[in-house]
Structures are given as C-alpha cells and as structure tokens.
C-alpha cells in the first residue's frame, strides 16, 4: 500500500507542477500578484473544452487555440490592468480579485455551472510490479516535464528569457540596458497564461471542467512556488513533488484533509524560516 501511495503522490506532484508552471513565470519571476491565475487556468480549460467538444476540433488543435487565446488574454490583462499597478501589492490584489469574479461569473453565464468533460487522450492503466498508474496521469508527467524543460531553456537561452530575468532583478537597470520592460511584462504574462491554459486542459481531461476549478490551482500553485522558491523553475519541480508525495502518503495513513494541512504547515514553516524557499536565493 505504501508504494502505491508513493506512486499516487508522484503523479499528483507532477499535476501540481503543471499547475504551477505559468505561475512560476508570472508570480515567481515577474513578481506580479496575479491571484487570478487560477481563473486563467479555468478559462483555458473551458477554451479547450469549447474548441474540442463544442466546435469539434481535434484535441491538439483545441489546445493550440486555447494557448493562443489565453496568450492574448494574458497580454491584454497586463497592458490594461496590471501595468498601471506594477510593484504595488494592494491595488494588484484588488485587480486580481476583480478578475477572479469577472472570469468566474462569465464562465458561469456562458458555459453553465455544470461540470464538463474534455475527452481523455489515452485510456488505460500502466501496471508495473502491482502498482497502478493511469496513462493520462503518466501523460501529465511527461507534458509537465517537457514544458518545464522548455521553460528553462527559454529563460536561460533566449534573449526574451534573459530580459525577463533582468527585469525581475532590477527594472531600472534593465531599462538602461535597452530592455523594453513593458513588452517583457506583457509577453511574460502572455506565456504564463498560455501555460495555465495547457495545465487547465490536461486537468480538465483527467478530472472535470467547471467554473470553480481555479481555486485549487492558485492555492496549490502558490504553495508549490513558495516551497520551491520564487523565480526558480527547478524549485517549482521539487516543491511540487514534495507536496505531491506528502499528499499521496499522508492521505493513506490519515486523511487527505490532514495531508493538505501538513503540506500548508510546511509552507508556513518555510516562509517563516527561509522565505526565499528551498531553491530561491533572495
């Protein structure tokens, strides 16, 4: 039983990593208090659902549409709303809360509050040595790992990625170096939102799509990136896996509520002792 718990936790952990992907960029690196990230993830899931189930486009195309749509939404959010309050925590929180209500209500009146389902890519279960793991969860691990690597390569290897790092470290210095800070901010929120869409779509196929699925994403996402350290992609992976394993194993011997409590208590402890997280260097 214990090892099945470990396997459960490992796959749950990668789901958390997937969900924290976009947030790592927006909140971790660019330090925008984007509390509405969970709702962006939710809209992404609905976009995939709409394109795939309602419009009948094949699943890959549906993801493509959702990614593009949410990239644009992310850029618009930054340009119209968050840019004005860059660096100011409280107004950003208000803007984010406004967006949360806006997106949730729009999802409810447009799509209905009922749970919807995105068709699963793969059916079936992988069985290794008596341990079971569903193939669609294996897929989420693969996709999560792939995107993490791509994000890492992007940050370290491209000019835009480096510009994001520079902006997050010292905005004035970056501007002096010729970085267009406004464009960098827009693009990063765009990419972050697009990643949220991917996570939403995958989660929507493993579980369900409904207007209130975002609160899970933002809570777990924040927990992951704080545990791992703001700004660290590797940290997000480690943070997600730790939280996942805690959930998978503790819930076997106690309850899943207890597992969440332990997980969050761990986060609080980290924030008190080393706020920069496991891999963050502040």
């Amino acid at each position: 039983m214990f090892w099945q718990g470990v396997v459960n936790g490992f796959s749950a952990g990668w789901i958390y990593v997937l969900v924290a992907l976009g947030l790592t960029l927006v909140f971790g690196i660019m330090r925008t208090v984007q509390f509405a990230h969970g709702e962006v993830y939710m809209l992404g899931a609905h976009a995939v659902f709409f394109a795939c189930v309602v419009l009948g486009i094949n699943i890959i195309g549906a993801f493509g549409i959702a990614v593009v749509a949410l990239f644009i939404l992310g850029m618009l959010m930054e340009r119209l709303l968050f840019r004005r309050f860059r660096g100011q925590i409280e107004p950003s929180i208000i803007v984010a809360i406004g967006l949360i209500l806006l997106f949730q209500t729009t999802a409810v009146v447009t799509f209905g509050a009922d749970e919807k389902h995105i068709p699963r890519f793969i059916q079936g279960v992988l069985v290794i040595g008596g341990l079971h793991i569903a193939w669609d969860r294996v897929l989420s691990v693969i996709v999560g790992a792939g995107i993490m690597l791509a994000l890492y390569a992007f940050i370290k290897g491209t000019k835009m990625g480096q510009a994001m790092i520079a902006t997050s470290q010292d905005m004035d210095a970056a501007t002096l170096q010729g970085v267009n800070v406004n464009r960098v901010s827009s693009v990063s929120m765009g990419i972050g939102s697009a990643l949220a869409a991917v996570a939403g779509g995958i989660m929507g196929s493993i579980f369900t799509v409904e207007p209130f699925m975002g609160s899970f994403a933002i809570t777990k996402g924040l927990a992951v990136i704080i545990l791992g350290g703001l700004g660290s992609i590797g940290g997000a992976v480690i943070g997600g896996l730790i939280l996942g394993l805690v959930d998978g194993v503790v819930s076997l011997y106690s309850s899943s509520t207890m597992a969440s409590i332990v997980g969050f208590a761990l986060i609080v402890l980290i924030l008190i002792v080393k706020p920069s997280g496991l891999m963050g260097g502040d």
Partner: protein
C-alpha cells in the same frame, strides 16, 4: 457657528440616525439582518485596517474569524457556558493564536506576509474540516444558542431571539470596538504603528520596538476579528467552514482598500460593499458584475478609496472656476 463645530454636530446627528434606524425599521426583519451583517463586516474591516497600518496586510483573517466563531459556538452549545463568556472566549482564542504566531510572522516581509496569512487561513479552515466530531466538519455546526435573555431592572425584557434586540447588541459592540480602535489610532502607540508601516528600519532606529508593536496590534486586531466571528456564529446559529475561506478574507481586504486606509475608510467600504449584493440581488447570477465594476472604478479612478471622494470632489470644484477664467 464655526465650520468645525457644525461638522461635529453633523457627524453626531448622523451617528444618532444610524443608532435609531433599527427601531425605525423594527418590523422589517430583512433590513435588520442586513444591518447586523453590515456591522459585523465593519468590525472585520476596521480590525484589518488597524493591523495593516504596520504593514501587516493579511488575507487570512477569515481564519481568525473561524476560530472565534467555532470556539464560542462549541463552548456555548457543547459545554453550556453562557454566551457572553463564550464570545469573549472566542476572541481570546483568536488572540492567543495571533500572539503565538505573531513574533515569527513579524519578521516576514510584505508579500511573503500576505502569502503566509493566506496559508494560515487555509490551515485553520482545514483543521475545522478535519476535527469534524467537534466542529461538525463540512456540514457544519447547528443549534448554536443566541445570547441569554435577561431583564433590565425588571422593566425591559431583552430577548436575543428577537432580531431587533440582537441588532442593538451588535451595534453596542461595534461602537465599543470602534471607540477602542479610534483611541489606539490617535494614541502614541497608533503613531508608532503608522511609523512602522511607513518605514520599518527607520522606526526601529528611533527606538520603536517593531516586533512587539506589530504583535500587539496583530493580537488586538485578531481579538476583535474573533469576536466578530463569535457574533456571526451566535447570530446565524449555524456554522459552515466554507464561510471562512480565503475568498472571505479577500473580501475583508476589499472593504479596506475600497473604503480607504484612513480610520473611517473601512466603515464606508464595508457598508457599500455589503449593500451592493443586496441591492442588485435581482440580477441573480449576473450580480457579481456590479461588484467587479465597483472594484475597477475604485482602483482606477479613486485609489485613495471612498473616503477620498469628498476631497476629489472639492478639488475638481475648485478647479472649475480657474478653467472658466481662461
């Protein structure tokens, strides 16, 4: 009559009006219900504002509200303790947690502090969920008693199952709490808190014990938040953990930011934002859009909050004659 005096008479008249309103509307139980909810929200918002003066902006106050609510409810319903005492017990329980966690938290910088409070609030809510034999878990606690009835010198019968009487209990507590907070705000300690909020390292260098001040105001704020929770519990007679999630904490923050950071800001914010859902209830599922509109209007056009409105109006009125002169 000088303008200061006439303004004070005006404020007094307004206060009197607010206090007499429940009696005037005594047949209308729905009005009284909204009045009570509004008063509780004002307590929550004002308490948050008080601790936010030191830079400790929390989005976990619903957790402390839950501690107050459940402690008081359990003490009264399951241990048979008189409600007046159990409500105090609720406030004290919240304060104890605040004092315990306050010192480690006082060292944490702004954005991390916000995050910690969010997770703290979540942990408290999950603990309520988990301890279901005590708290009723996800389905909640029922049968919470109203405060015991008593008679005032044999003449006036006070029975708190009557909404009007409960209304005045809440109003009384609200006024007392606001008086205490106002005195803190105007006191030497209040100035120290504001100084910490502005520039923490500088305050420390002029001799203000930053950690102790922060913990002090945090504990006081949480006492009132816990008390508000107890009031809520004994009013509703039914408790449910979803009422105490992060969203509720965010709403309390909205009351403060929309109202403005001055002393009276949270009062204005709480009143406006409690009334909006009631006025626009006819819109059903579209009602949140009104809320969103108000939020965006405030944050973009009136960043100082509602209390800034009179000043803005005065300034734009003063500008007008200049433009005409051109």
């Amino acid at each position: 009559m000088d303008s200061g005096r006439s303004r004070r008479i005006g404020k007094g008249a307004l206060l009197l009006l607010v206090c007499l309103l429940p009696i005037a509307m005594r047949g209308n139980d729905y009005f009284l219900h909204v009045y009570i909810v509004c008063a509780i929200n004002i307590i929550l918002a004002s308490s948050l504002r008080a601790m936010a003066t030191t830079g400790q902006m929390s989005i976990g106050q619903a957790g402390f509200m839950a501690i107050g609510a459940y402690t008081s409810a359990i003490l009264a319903a399951k241990c048979g303790i008189p409600v007046y005492l159990s409500m105090l017990g609720g406030g004290c329980a919240a304060t104890v947690l605040a004092a315990l966690i306050g010192f480690p938290l006082s060292r944490i910088r702004t954005i991390y502090f916000v995050m910690v409070t969010m997770f703290l609030g979540e942990i408290i809510r999950l603990v309520v969920f988990e301890a279901s034999s005590l708290t009723g878990g996800s389905t909640g606690l029922m049968g919470i008693p109203r405060p015991e009835a008593f008679s005032f010198f044999g003449l006036l019968q006070i029975d708190f199952s009557n909404k009007l009487h409960f209304c005045y209990l809440v109003l009384l507590l609200l006024l007392i709490i606001l008086l205490v907070l106002y005195n803190i705000h105007r006191s030497h300690a209040g100035t120290a808190f504001a100084a910490i909020g502005q520039e923490e390292s500088l305050s420390s260098s002029v001799g203000i014990n930053v950690a102790r001040s922060k913990v002090l105001i945090f504990s006081v704020a949480c006492f009132f938040t816990g008390l508000a929770g107890s009031l809520y519990a004994h009013y509703m007679t039914v408790l449910n953990p979803d009422a105490f999630g992060t969203f509720t904490s965010l709403y309390i923050l909205i009351y403060v930011v929309v109202g403005g950071r001055s002393f009276f800001g949270p009062i204005a914010g709480a009143i406006l934002l409690t009334l909006i859902p009631e006025f626009f209830a006819a819109l059903k599922e579209y009602q949140p859009y009104v809320f969103v509109l108000v939020l965006f209007l405030i944050v973009f056009l009136l960043p100082g909050g509602l209390v800034d409105l009179p000043r803005r109006i005065r300034e734009s009125v003063r500008k007008a004659p200049l433009e005409e002169a051109r």
